[in-house]
């Protein structure tokens, strides 16, 4: 083999690339997942939605199902009746409505709510302030807008606080003037929202729910946003609220819920799949490297036929020859594997440093790479070794 250093090193290179890419792809995939999970946490992992839904098989007739499925009264009663819920906020929507300032327009998603939502959903103002209880109590026409809206309506001004904008509603019958008191912080998480299907609402506009309900003359609420006491109790807290509401209305309405946990699960699944596809691609390249080693071993057996004959004449058994060639193939792959592991680890550490995402390196994938490279060594050596061991001693001795 020493006489074919180039050929041998090239085949080892296949293993090196394969092993290094298994580690790199695996680790980066896993850590990408971790990074996105961290981003998701910023939405508030404990937050949950409850909303009413229509069900065909509701035994209560449509005529009897009058009134609002969720009202202000329910919101007030939830904290006392649902022990797993820490805070709760009502929401009324006016989607696809518009705001205007002089000649500029922007489409908005109007969210009429209470200050509690700020904590539950991590909605923090970048400049100015969020809605307050005072705003609600005094029916102040104030709003907190997303940065996109602020940019569209006030492209030149840095600070739109105190400006008046006109809201043109779709559900709300009247045009209403609001004073901007805050602009929302933009979370730098475009990737996760795309993956999990959670829209990043840059065109949100928060207003006091009292203004909204008064305009429509209702005490009804569209959705409930709530927060569970503990991180993994989102589902249970949502069930509590649904159960409470169903009992309160004696099954007249049906409710559905959505928790952050569900989004996390979906994200996890998708990212896990992506990571594994990468790993499979890397493993395929490892296998290709194995074929390279097999090629080297097959030619090596052919070149050393005479040596095999001599060894057999001196008393080598078939299994001695088999073992010899298997060892050589394994040594090749283990050398390749070791170099590949070093390269994979250093590349991962380098990416860690550059991207500033710590602790990327995944032990599982290092273990997987070691395992697969040993396996490749044995499998790729097996066929040439069996061929070598079965050579007839006379034919082998006579081989020129």
């Amino acid at each position: 083999m020493a006489s074919h250093r180039l050929r041998t090193s090239l085949s080892i290179l296949g293993i090196i690339i394969g092993v290094a890419s298994v580690i790199l792809v695996g680790s980066v995939g896993m850590s990408g997942k971790n990074a996105i999970m961290k981003e998701l946490e910023m939405f508030g992992l404990r937050s949950l939605y409850v909303f009413s839904s229509y069900k065909e098989d509701n035994p209560i007739k449509r005529k009897e199902r009058k009134g609002d499925p969720i009202t202000n009264g329910d919101i007030l009663a939830i904290p006392a009746n649902c022990p797993k819920v820490t805070s709760v906020a009502p929401i009324c929507w006016d989607w696809g409505s518009w705001v205007r300032h002089r000649t500029r327009f922007a489409q908005v998603r109007l969210i009429a709510t209470t200050p509690a939502i700020s904590r539950i959903r991590n909605e923090l103002p970048e400049i100015g302030r969020f809605l307050t209880e005072e705003d609600l109590k005094n029916n102040r026409r104030v709003c907190v807008v997303g940065r996109d809206i602020a940019k569209k309506l006030f492209p030149k001004e840095k600070d739109p606080i105190g400006k008046e904008i006109l809201h043109i509603g779709r559900r709300l019958p009247k045009k209403t003037r609001y004073t901007i008191v805050g602009v929302l912080k933009v979370e730098d998480t475009p990737l996760s929202s795309k993956i999990s299907g959670m829209p990043m609402e840059e065109n949100k506009m928060f207003v006091p729910i009292t203004i909204f309900q008064r305009a429509l003359n209702t005490k009804g609420v569209d959705d409930i946003v709530a927060e569970a006491i503990l991180q993994d109790q989102g589902e249970e807290a949502a069930e509590e609220i649904k159960g409470f509401l169903e009992k309160r209305y004696k099954g007249k309405f049906c409710y559905e819920s959505e928790t952050m946990q569900q989004h996390i699960d979906v994200t996890n699944q998708i990212l896990g799949t992506v990571a594994w596809i990468g790993v499979i691609a890397a493993v395929v390249s490892l296998l290709v490297g194995g074929i390279g080693i097999m090629n080297v071993m097959v030619s090596s057996v052919a070149e050393r036929t005479r040596e095999i004959g001599i060894r057999k004449s001196l008393g080598a058994r078939d299994k001695d020859i088999l073992f010899q060639f298997l060892t050589e193939a394994s040594v090749l792959s283990i050398i390749g594997g070791a170099i590949g592991i070093l390269i994979g680890i250093s590349a991962t550490l380098a990416i860690e440093t550059i991207s500033k995402h710590p602790s990327l390196l995944s032990r599982e994938f290092v273990a997987l790479a070691i395992f697969v490279s040993c396996l490749v060594g044995i499998l790729s050596g097996l066929y040439p070794a069996i061929r070598a061991s079965r050579l007839d001693p006379i034919d082998a001795l006579r081989y020129e």
Binding site: A2, I310, K312, I394
Partner: protein, 220 residues
């Protein structure tokens, strides 16, 4: 009788042709005997040698080596027999070119399962016996033909086999060196080894106790 061949024949296929290398041949050799096999090329000398050396099987007939029927041995048993009972000396020396002289002599010990240190000691002693201890770190290619053949004799003898099979051992050597090698074989005979020598050389055959001449796969 150390070797007893009765009515053996060997047929093999060569490029689609049926070649009958040995036909109904019987031959026996006593322990301690020096026996020369002569004959023109293609007479079946080498095939007979390979059969005696347990490197190939018979097409028909029986071969007893030290009273054991070789035809009934498994592949591993044949390897064991080659390792313990037979020492081969080839015309082309058949040393492994990338291994040192010492490692070449160690090979039979390796397949006997002897550990590294003892292996080196025994191989070193054997090289001393053939007068090549000072060459043990060299590669075969750095040695003269006569030296290489002495290394291969050392390798054949290292496990102290009863039977030495030499296939034209002087064929690639000049006459002076050839004579030296033949002297080694004579000395081995005196030590009680059984020697089978395949040769073209009438002079070499003179050292033998008996001469077997083959022609077309039969004893002439």
């Amino acid at each position: 009788m150390i070797i007893e061949l009765s009515n053996i024949s060997k047929v093999y296929q060569m490029g689609g042709n049926r070649v009958e290398a040995l036909k109904d041949l019987s031959f026996a050799c006593n322990e301690g005997e020096f026996c020369a096999i002569m004959g023109p090329s293609g007479s079946g000398k080498s095939t007979l040698m390979h059969i005696i050396g347990c490197l190939t099987t018979l097409s028909s007939g029986v071969y007893f080596l030290e009273g054991r029927d070789v035809g009934k041995l498994s592949k591993d048993d044949l390897a064991y027999t080659r390792n313990r009972k037979i020492g081969f000396v080839f015309q082309t020396f058949n040393l492994l070119p990338r291994f040192s002289v010492l490692s070449n002599v160690e090979l039979p010990l390796l397949y006997r399962g002897i550990q590294g240190k003892e292996r080196r000691e025994q191989a070193g002693q054997m090289l001393e016996r053939v007068g090549l201890a000072f060459r043990k770190r060299h590669l075969p290619s750095q040695l003269s033909g006569g030296e290489q053949q002495r290394v291969s004799i050392a390798r054949a003898l290292v496990l102290n086999p009863k039977l030495i099979l030499a296939d034209e051992p002087t064929g690639n050597l000049d006459s002076v060196t050839g004579k030296e090698i033949m002297e080694i074989f004579c000395k081995l005979k005196e030590e009680g080894k059984t020697i089978i020598l395949v040769t073209h050389n009438q002079e070499n055959a003179q050292f033998a106790d008996k001469i077997l001449t083959l022609r077309d796969g039969r004893i002439e």
